[in-house]
Amino acid sequence: MLYLYCLAPPQSVPPPNSFSGIEDAPVRVIRTHSLLAWVSETAQAPSVTPDNARLHDRVIREAMRSETPLPARFGQVFDNEAALRASISAHESALTSGLEKVRGAVEMTVRALLEVRSSSPTPAVSTGTEYLAQLKERQKADDDIVEKAKFLQWRISAVTAPFVLAEIMGKTVAASRSVSISHLVARAAVEEYRAKLRALRDGDASLDFLVSGPWAPYSFVGIPDE
């Protein structure tokens, strides 16, 4: 079976001969009409472990050294080369467009934890009225998180807009009190992008967020239904 890491432009540099991926299997490319598929041999779909996740991303980062690829989601295996070629062929137009969209760019992710109004400890409820009151309080707290998330996203977008080619707002997860924003940024603009966010954070003690990247453009490569 073949394990898929990413799909790179046809002009990109293949992996070095000694380069290996998951299960220490050598990584090679399969050349199609319009792209290079980075793959390795595998007996079965790999388990989801931190090491395998790192190896998956590591291979993609190697591909990124020359050209920005379309990173594959973890876990995709194909029975053989013919099956992989058939899948690629079925989505060729979208893949080609996708490669063009991310050319010369990387993904940066901003993740923020949101402070919420501290609520008093949840007392035990003994009546329906108390239960409904508690529900209402929880809903207010969740609404508060959503509003804070929108405001934070707006502030981040305002300073990064000149450097951002595309933006995806993550769903605000009220339970985790976190919000994320993914940006597609030209490689040459990454340092300025970071500097703007650093200045924003340093200038406002109420803001708390983390910037990660550059990543391969995981968030910007979905294949639309064809």
Binding site: L4, C6, L7, Q44, A45, P46, S47, V48, T49, P50, A53, R54, H56, D57, R58, R61, L70, P71, A72, R73, F74, G75, Q76, V77, F78, L84, S87, I88, A90, H91, L95, G98, E107, T109, R111, L113, S176, S178, S180, R194, L197, R198, R201, A205, D208, L210, V211, S212, G213, P214, W215, Y218, S219, V221, G222, I223
Partner: protein, 73 residues
């Protein structure tokens, strides 16, 4: 390397590779080795941030906040 940052980087890595990226197949069969890694990733993230906050001190005391390193090498 700072343990809290390790956890944050891992959580972000899992969020990217497991939840995003090109999908050529209709279904992806993922075998989970031990635990629910998505839930673990989020837990790592939250606990790592809490640890970071308790370790870094206040801004005025010189606590630093920095970008996450990319999880390479």
């Amino acid at each position: 390397m700072d343990t809290s940052n390790d956890s944050l980087v891992l959580a972000e890595l899992l969020n990217h590779v497991l939840d995003k990226g090109v999908v050529l197949q209709g279904e992806i069969v993922i075998s989970v080795a031990d635990v629910d890694l998505i839930k673990l990733g989020l837990s790592l993230y939250l606990s790592a941030v809490e640890r970071r906050e308790s370790m870094s001190g206040s801004r005025e005391e010189g606590g630093t906040r920095r970008s996450l390193p990319s999880p390479e090498k």
